[in-house]
């Protein structure tokens, strides 16, 4: 009976080996627990590494290389028109995934984590049944961490089962480059994959039900991206829903309904459905435990990520929004420390989020939209005042701070521009450390860098920026 051999009280079963599961397993093993890691893939990595963040970033990198070769004339370089070798691109993307997942497999061995390749079902709050091949094993545990992640959602008419309709997983396989691609959903997955296919030569139409791209992100951060994408995509249809989809001889027939009521019928070669993700909380045998799910299917947990069943914890996408790999990694550690009896709790003031489009958008902490307007002051620093942005020929970026009125504490940071995903790290640290605007103003930044814009935003707030003057709100 696998997993039952460990010393009493120390047996941990982790279900799911994505960015919630493998850090939990590795950290727990390092801290002396006897860990079994159960996943259907041979190596750890999860949706993020196999079918999400990693392959999409590899393809986005290639898209950027293509775009850059076209923009290069401004820098005095001419490459001619880029030729795309789809097989080589696919192989390179797969090699990145293989390298990372096999590396994680190696680490799993070094950390003495016991792998089981199979599917786990709870049988009460102390044991699991694991289906592998045709065999059913029983795995006893003192604690379990559920990290089963999420899957692409295909609600209503978007559920059509057709080889011409892809979800993000299918789109990443890059079977071909459709001449006309419909992207349903103007969130980060739709925009990232739309960018990839547009760079490879597809005419891309993006349909978004809400009035703007990237719902939930501050409009001023989205604006430079929206402007850029207007030149990348064939069309962006806002306030529009897909009400019907059907296979046709020459493609996929789609009925679009605009908010005003106008309907139209269009044909595309392929469609990518990217309207969100659903937690993988079903079919786990949770009815045999006290674990509760909320209306959207997320597992309910306390601040330590403990479910209503005291031996069972849940982390990552299955435990609630935001569905981000690094949020899962952080929760994983909290859960392990809670299991070890340490006073850990999940309460980061700032979880960064990044959209890896071009330009990138990154933010952390409070957004302007979420902040009560009379409690905050907003300061913006446009990158056209940044020497580094000018040398990169990328003056369209923006850095903004959301400051608490009175205390001038930094509650949130938002950045749009190349490398925003890396730049946000110092914003996150500032929010976590309770930095005030004056701290950022006095932190000397290297010149010429884009990171100076964080400091200059604070200077702009005090009216001391040498490069930009803004009227204070």
């Amino acid at each position: 009976m696998a997993g039952a051999s460990g010393p009493a009280g120390k047996r941990l079963a982790v279900i799911g080996a994505g960015p919630g599961g493998y850090p939990a397993a590795f950290h727990a093993a390092l801290r002396g627990l006897d860990v079994t890691l159960i996943d259907e893939e041979e190596n750890p990595g999860g949706a993020c590494t196999y079918r999400g963040c990693i392959p999409s970033k590899a393809l986005l990198h290639a898209a950027r290389v293509i775009a850059e070769s076209r923009e290069a004339r401004a820098f005095g370089l001419d490459f001619g028109e880029p030729q795309i070798d789809l097989d080589a691109l696919r192989e390179w993307k797969d090699s990145v995934v293989r390298r990372l997942t096999s590396g994680l497999g190696l680490l799993r061995g070094q950390r003495n984590v016991r792998p089981i390749v199979g599917r786990a079902y709870f049988a009460g709050g102390r044991s699991l049944r694991v289906l592998r091949g045709g065999a059913l094993d029983e795995v006893g545990f003192d604690h379990a961490i559920i990290a089963t992640g999420s899957s692409p959602a295909r609600p209503g008419p978007l559920a059509l089962d057709s080889p011409r309709v892809m979800d993000s997983t299918g789109a990443l396989e890059l079977a071909d480059v459709p001449a006309r691609l419909l992207v349903v959903g103007g969130g980060y997955i739709g925009l990232e994959m739309g960018t990839v296919y547009a760079a490879l030569g597809s005419k891309v139409t993006v349909v978004e039900m809400l009035p703007g791209l990237l719902p939930g992100v501050d409009r001023d951060l989205v604006q430079p991206l929206a402007t850029h994408l207007a030149g990348v995509f064939d069309e962006v249809l806002l306030n529009t829903r897909v009400t019907a989809m059907a296979d046709a001889e020459d493609g996929i027939r789609v009925r679009l309904a605009a908010a005003g009521g106008a309907e139209s019928e269009r044909t595309f070669d392929k469609a990518l459905v990217a309207v969100g993700r659903r937690p993988n909380s079903g079919d786990l045998g949770l009815e045999t435990t006290l674990v509760r799910t909320d209306a959207r299917g997320f597992l309910e947990t306390d601040r330590q990520r403990r479910t209503a069943e005291p031996t069972i914890f849940a982390v990552g996408d299955v435990a609630g929004e935001p569905m981000l790999a690094h949020k899962a990694m952080h929760e994983a550690r909290v859960a392990v420390e809670a299991i070890l009896g340490e006073p850990a709790a999940f309460e980061p003031a700032a979880i960064p989020a990044v959209v890896f489009t071009d330009p990138e958008i990154a933010w952390c902490g409070l957004t302007e939209a979420d902040a009560p307007a009379d409690h905050v002051e907003i300061v913006r620093y446009p990158w056209r005042a940044s020497g580094r942005a000018i040398t990169l020929a990328r003056p369209e970026g923006l850095t903004k701070l959301i400051l608490e009125k009175g205390s001038e504490r930094v509650l949130g940071v938002g950045i749009t521009g190349p490398n925003a995903g890396e730049l946000i790290a110092e914003g996150t640290l500032a929010v976590e450390m309770g930095a005030r605007a004056s701290d950022l103003q006095l932190t000397i930044h290297a010149h010429p860098t884009l990171s100076e814009t964080v400091m200059e935003s604070a200077e702009t707030f005090f009216g001391t920026s040498a490069h930009y003057i803004a009227r204070r709100r």
Binding site: P19, S69, A72, A74, L77, H445
Partner: protein, 465 residues
């Protein structure tokens, strides 16, 4: 009766920031500049080199592209277009600075300044015309620096050049770069990517002598892999230097062996010398050593009302250091009480490929300063974002106080190092501990994750990342 509250001599980063800060605070300011506002950084330093390095970055990215499924034909470098791009940026930023000075009602005085008393200066207009005298309550000397020269390698601007010339020079077929500091290393990286054969000579045992030895080794390794002939501990035999129509030849002794190197161009990049000779501060009683105007930690010279900021005062020769000092002096003169810029906690950025960035103390400097240190290292090779960007050779190193875990310094080698160091700067300013640095949630997949991993590694030496 003074004409101005503040007279700033030199319109580079230090002088410009001082003038702006003072004017914003309501002071009457004059700024004397004999050339163009923006100084060395804008016209012959950080900005033009970064613009050219962008061109090189695209060429390098294109070489790696076939492995990523994108085939590009061999790039044709249109040097005049690359120069246009670079010059366009410089012009744009310069006109922005001029407008900002005018907007702030700062009196711009074009001409060469000469001190006639502690707070009086004679200006000889660059365009000719009568000499004028300006008086102010306080004076800031911000006259910057110029490239150092070598007696045995006289600069002629054609065969033997400094960075002043190199920024306009088409990449030479064969180049010898004398000096492996930031400037020499950046030109080595630039020229090799644009197709030059480059020899990089450094007298000391490592490139970037002020930086961490591991970081310098990583840079040397990657430059070598791209074809640069990197020679450290290399002593040029001064008598062997020959300069003629065919180029420059020299013999170099390295590790007991003699080598002969030849190039179409030799770039002298052996540092920069503070310059204040033309200003003649000594005439006003201000002590100088060579061109250096020494100051105390509040940027005061030995004469009351006279300050010196930036390269000319002999400190770290970096634009952001000059700016911080300039702002500090102006704020003091406005009656505010800001803390003096901490000379240790200053970020340093080298824009080679790979970039090298650091802040605070290196391991060697910390040990020398008497700290008991612990070190955390994390490498890029398991980082997803770094792998995707062909940047698996980078690393982050953190230096912390053994007992308290307080951060003493951080060094980063890799593609986004110069941006990532901002995180360490904030951490340092906020007195972050390793624990805090390790616990901050980093976005995935980003290279910034490695900073957290390095902090973790210092806390748990057993943890292999």
């Amino acid at each position: 009766m003074s004409d101005f509250d503040l007279l700033v001599i030199g319109g580079g980063w230090g002088g410009y920031t001082a003038a702006q800060t003072m004017a914003r605070g309501g002071g009457r300011v004059a700024l004397v500049e004999q050339d163009k506002v923006g100084g060395v950084c804008l016209h012959r330093g950080c900005i033009p080199t970064k613009a050219l390095l962008e061109t090189a970055a695209i060429v390098r990215g294109a070489r790696a592209a076939p492995a990523h499924g994108v085939r590009l034909s061999a790039p044709e470098l249109d040097w005049p277009a690359a120069l246009d791009f670079k010059n366009g940026i410089v012009d744009r930023l310069e006109s922005g600075m001029r407008q900002a000075l005018d907007l702030a009602k700062i009196e711009r005085v074009d001409g060469a300044a000469r001190m006639t008393g502690p707070t009086s200066v004679e200006v000889t207009p660059a365009a000719g015309g009568p000499v004028t005298t300006l008086r102010a309550r306080d004076v800031i000397i911000a006259t910057g620096s110029r490239p150092a020269d070598l007696a045995f390698l006289p600069v002629d601007g054609r065969r033997v050049v400094t960075s002043d010339h190199a920024i306009d020079l088409p990449p030479p077929a064969r180049a010898i770069i004398v000096g492996g500091g930031a400037v020499g290393a950046e030109f080595a990286s630039l020229w090799t990517d644009l197709g030059s054969d480059v020899v990089l000579l450094e007298l000391l045992p490592q490139l970037l002598p002020q930086e961490d030895a591991e970081a310098a080794r990583a840079l040397a390794r990657q430059l070598s892999a791209r074809g640069v002939d990197v020679r450290t501990g290399a002593q040029i035999d001064a008598d062997s230097v020959r300069i003629d129509a065919g180029g420059v030849r020299m013999e170099v002794e390295q590790g007991g062996e003699r080598h002969t190197f030849g190039g179409d161009v030799a770039l002298v990049a052996t540092g920069r010398r503070p310059r204040s000779e033309a200003l003649a501060p000594a005439g006003a009683g201000v002590s100088t050593y060579g061109g250096t105007v020494p100051v105390d930690e509040e940027m005061r010279t030995d004469v009351e009302h006279v300050y010196a900021v930036g390269d000319v005062n002999g400190g770290l020769q970096l634009a952001h250091v000059a700016a911080a000092q300039g702002r500090y002096v102006a704020e003091r003169l406005l009656g505010q009480s800001p803390p003096p810029p901490d000379p240790v906690w200053m970020p340093r950025a080298v824009y080679t490929t790979p970039e090298v960035a650091s802040i605070g103390l290196t391991e060697a400097q910390a040990v020398e300063a008497g700290h008991r240190v612990k070190i955390g290292r994390a490498r890029f090779r398991t980082n997803a974002r770094a792998l995707i960007h062909d940047d698996a050779d980078g690393f982050v190193k953190v230096v912390a106080e053994e007992e308290s875990g307080d951060l003493l310094g951080c060094q980063i080698v890799g593609a986004a190092a110069t941006e990532m160091i901002g995180q360490a700067a904030v951490g340092g300013f906020m007195d972050a501990s390793l624990w805090e640095l390790g616990r901050v949630v980093q976005a995935h997949p980003t290279v910034s994750e490695v900073v957290g991993e390095a902090a973790e590694a210092a806390l748990r030496p057993r943890l292999r990342l």
